[in-house]
């Protein structure tokens, strides 16, 4: 019998925030993420231009003071489009992660708690979903039920379900044999209560980390679908479709492809850094020596 060193999490260290800000990944990642989120929120109230009004005469302008990122093929301000596009990307990714967590986590916890046949069936179901290349299936779903943000969300969300189910199950399985669970059982608590009171709080860190990863993947997936014309539909701008539209005009206006691409890269980078930082902070086993 030995003591597993991984169990000594100190989630509520008084210096959590202080440690957090000294973690480079976390600090940069959360700054970028907050910035993008702020930009998306701001776009509800204000954008430099109204992008529903087309001034085709101004099309394909380069960078200027009036249009810092230039204008697109219909004369719309790219900066404004990117701001509103952030809203779309974030919304799609958040709801898709929400679907994945909302369905996957209870499933995973249930499988871990019940074991046996329930567990086996759920894991086989996971295998089944994983056997379908996610993007292909998302394309199928959106192509069959019609393109649009809602179908994109559902398509991405469905493939988040087994991911979270797997993470929740693995996490729950590692918590179940711990002695405090035995203690709770000795205190007469049932599997449901134990899952809610003891399992969930202890896998929340794992889920949070996975959440940021899926969030980033969701943004990439949404961009891919929009690029193929299966994501949010005009007039709602989306980064992926902006890239598609830019592609044909790259020899005349390369900046069209530059900024939406950068927006995707920066957002995904920010989220990944945030996820890495969170993992470093929440999982002391992987914490770097510094």
């Amino acid at each position: 019998m030995s003591i597993d060193p991984t169990l000594h999490e100190n989630p509520d260290e008084p210096h959590f925030l202080k440690t957090a800000l000294t973690d480079r990944s976390f600090a940069i990642g959360s700054c970028i993420t907050l910035l993008i989120a702020a930009m998306a929120l701001l776009s509800f109230l204000w954008t430099p231009y109204d992008i529903t009004v087309l001034t085709v005469a101004d099309k394909l302008q380069g960078l200027s003071l009036a249009h810092p990122f230039g204008t697109d093929h219909l004369g719309r301000d790219i900066l404004s489009m990117i701001m509103i596009g952030a809203r779309n990307s974030i919304a799609v990714a958040i709801v898709a992660v929400g679907i994945g967590m909302g369905v996957g986590v209870p499933l995973g916890c249930w499988a871990a708690a019940r074991g046996g046949l329930v567990d086996e069936v759920l894991m086989r179901f996971n295998d089944l979903v994983f056997a379908f290349p996610a993007l292909l299936s998302a394309i199928m779903i959106t192509a069959i039920f019609g393109p649009g943000a809602v179908n994109a969300i559902i398509a991405i969300g469905i493939f988040n379900v087994p991911v979270f189910a797997r993470v929740a199950r693995a996490g729950a399985l590692s918590v179940w044999p711990r002695e405090f669970i035995l203690a709770a059982r000795a205190a007469g608590k049932g599997k449901f209560l134990i899952s809610v009171e003891h399992i969930l709080p202890n896998i929340v860190a794992l889920l949070l980390v996975q959440g940021t990863i899926q969030f980033a993947l969701g943004i990439l997936a949404e961009a891919g679908l929009s690029y193929l014309g299966l994501g949010a539909q005009p007039p709602m701008p989306s980064w992926g479709r902006m890239l598609f539209e830019a592609q044909t005009r790259m020899i005349v206006a390369p900046h069209l492809a530059l900024f939406p691409g950068l927006a995707i890269v920066v957002t995904v980078l920010g989220l990944n850094l945030l996820g890495d930082g969170l993992r470093d902070l929440l999982d002391p086993r992987l914490r770097r020596e510094r």
């Binding site: 295998d127 996610a134 990944n272």
Partner: protein, 315 residues
């Protein structure tokens, strides 16, 4: 070992059967009349009815499923509605592009990622680690189609070193064929390589923290030997897992990349077939892709057994 593999195989087969039902069920709810699509915009009703009859679209659903599923077992995937040729032929032609593409990018990403990941792990915390992982971090964030665009404009349009897209066919010779696949393979591989490098690094770091690494060093083994002989093989287990997942991802990634480079591969075939409602082709290709993912998973499981004696010799 045999029991282990037999179980994996059985699960794989069951997955395929259930998948075929799902695919058929989902695709049968699709709106769209294949006969109308074949004949085009100004087709006349009688012509349509004739064609529907010829294509067997009037049979009950279950019969059509059984026909289709039993056909697939003997390699008959049906006949494309839009191209009036057997689906298996289409798949064969297209796989000759997609498979080399996927393999090329898999090899490319592995060849880049493993050394980088191992190198970074061995230089943990030093500038080489920070820089290579910083690059990998950015690489993970780059959408592959955007990367593809940048590549096209740099190497094909600006420098004219490689074709911008299209595929001359293997008849045109090996080199022109490979040349046409270079850019798409790089575009597919690099983001994957970034992920793989990160996974390799963290797997190596995890292994390097294990007790048996200390045992090996206490034996007098220098770091280099410990890294390659003791750590790497253990670190391969998570790396294999990711490689398996990446294969599925690469297959799907080909859909976008083949569209960017207008390569006549499976990805474009299925994308076009979806938009043209050529369901029989979609069904065939999706089943093929699912089967290859299942196959790769089994290969990964075999890989585990090769790497990890605990699976091989379990009593």
């Amino acid at each position: 070992m045999t029991a282990y593999l037999a179980k994996r195989l059985l699960i794989g087969l069951a997955t395929l059967v259930v998948a075929s039902m799902v695919v058929f069920a989902v695709l049968e709810v699709v709106p769209g009349d294949p006969a109308l699509i074949m004949l085009g915009m100004n087709a006349e009703p009688e012509a349509l009815a004739t064609l529907r009859e010829q294509m067997g679209l009037n049979q009950p659903l279950l019969m059509r499923y059984l026909d289709w599923a039993s056909g697939m077992i003997v390699g008959d995937f049906g006949r494309s509605y839009t191209y009036s040729s057997p689906v298996i032929e289409l798949i064969g032609e297209r796989a000759a592009v997609s498979l080399p593409l996927a393999l090329l990018s898999l090899v490319l990403s592995t060849v880049i990622a493993l050394p980088v990941g191992i190198f970074a792990a061995s230089r943990r915390g030093r500038p080489a680690d920070t820089i290579s992982m910083g690059v990998a971090q950015v690489g993970v964030a780059i959408p592959n189609f955007w990367f593809a665009l940048l590549l096209i404009y740099l190497f094909a349009v600006w420098l004219r070193l490689v074709p911008a897209g299209g595929f001359p066919g293997w008849n045109a010779g090996l080199w022109p064929g490979v040349k046409a696949l270079i850019l798409p393979a790089i575009a597919l591989a690099l983001p994957q390589a970034a992920i793989l490098a990160r996974v390799t690094r963290s797997a190596m770091l995890e292994v390097l923290g294990e007790d048996y690494i200390r045992t090996a060093r206490a034996k007098g083994m220098p770091r280099r030997v410990v890294l390659w002989h003791h750590a790497l093989r253990n670190a391969l287990i998570p790396v294999l897992t990711i490689l398996g997942l990446q294969f599925a991802f690469l297959l799907a990634g080909t859909i976008i990349i083949e569209n960017v480079f207008y390569l006549p591969g499976l990805g474009r075939l299925v994308f076009q077939a979806i938009t043209q409602r050529d369901l029989i082709v979609v069904e065939g290709v999706v089943m093929l892709l699912v089967a290859s993912v299942v196959l790769v998973n089994i290969l990964v499981d075999i890989g585990y057994a090769i790497v990890d004696p605990r699976l091989r010799t379990r009593q």
